[in-house]
Amino acid sequence: MPDMILTAKSVEDVKSIINEKLISENVQTVMVIDGAGNILAHCGQDADGLDAISLAALTAANFGATSQIAKLIGENDFSLLYHKGEKANIHFARLGGEMILVSIFGDDVSLGLVRVRVEELADDINQIFEG
């Protein structure tokens, strides 16, 4: 896993497409993180309302743990995870390579929409961050 260098432009570009595709549809928070639990980009609800560092670390660990479960049933990895809560739901998707996109949204947003939009975003985000 190589070190990653983010430029102001790459972060802004990623944030702008996330805002356009997800935040504009009422998704509360979207984060792009790497496999080590670093936050690469954070859109939507600000850091005061959410412990983003812990969320990123746990997400990376959760993905690592579930990929071991995947191996136990003969899969290489699970590319997306979804947890449903009473008011808030969380959707995790692997963006190819080491990056994970985390979306937090309420019941007013449909899971199908999030899935479609995340799929549309994956290639673009990959291209911007990994070139």
Partner: protein, 204 residues
């Protein structure tokens, strides 16, 4: 894996405290957490487990000030020490930039220390990393036990067992009370930031 954010002028590094079960890794983090001011520390994340053992990991984010205009942000992680949690340890080591190996001085744990260091070397190798080339600090913890009748190992014996190959700096510590905890943290932070900075910031 260090993350360098040129837009926000931040450098993020990951330091992992490694060692056999019950050697005091979480105790180190707790002492640091309690001793630092709210401005310099983030929330400490511990995943609740039954009993006092770490099941997954602990995480403590810290701000260490500025170097060359870059804010240095460090995330301290611990791993579960128990032998059976090897997969979790490997997971936590993903993207690590610096390592602290905490050694237990109890004579009955001599083999465990050696096994744990070997486990670290092996798990890093699986991530394509070589322990000899990485920032590493050893901490000889629980030195207060040496004054009790419990059979313990001297620092020389621990050096002999663990540090012959690596020649890393070592610190005596009593993580429950504080001595040696910040000395260890300072040294590993310095080495890790240096390692990352040499690679990216000053090398251009």
């Amino acid at each position: 894996m260090a993350l360098i954010d040129l837009g926000k002028k931040e450098v993020h590094c990951k330091i992992v405290y490694y060692g056999a079960g019950r050697c005091g890794k979480t105790t180190n983090l707790l002492y640091i957490y309690n001793a630092m001011s709210d401005n310099d520390r983030g929330k400490m994340l511990t995943i609740d487990t039954k009993g006092d053992r770490t099941l997954f990991f602990d995480l403590l984010p810290l701000n260490l000030g500025k170097i060359s205009g870059f804010d240095i942000r460090i995330q301290l992680y611990t791993v579960p020490g128990q032998v059976m949690y090897e997969a979790t340890r490997k997971l936590v080591l993903k993207g690590v930039d610096g390592l602290v190996f905490v050694a237990d001085p109890l004579k009955v744990r001599q083999e465990r220390n050696i096994e744990s260091l070997e486990d670290l070397r092996r798990n890093l190798a699986d991530h394509g990393l070589n322990l000899k080339e990485m920032p590493l600090v050893l901490q000889y913890n629980k030195r207060d036990l040496c004054e009790t009748p419990v059979p313990t190992l001297s620092v020389e014996e621990l050096e002999q067992d663990l540090n012959q190959e690596y020649q890393a700096p070592g610190f005596e510590a009593i993580a429950t009370k504080g001595p040696g905890v910040f000395e260890t943290l300072k040294e590993i932070s310095k080495r890790t930031v240096n390692y990352v900075a040499q690679k990216h910031l000053f090398n251009k």
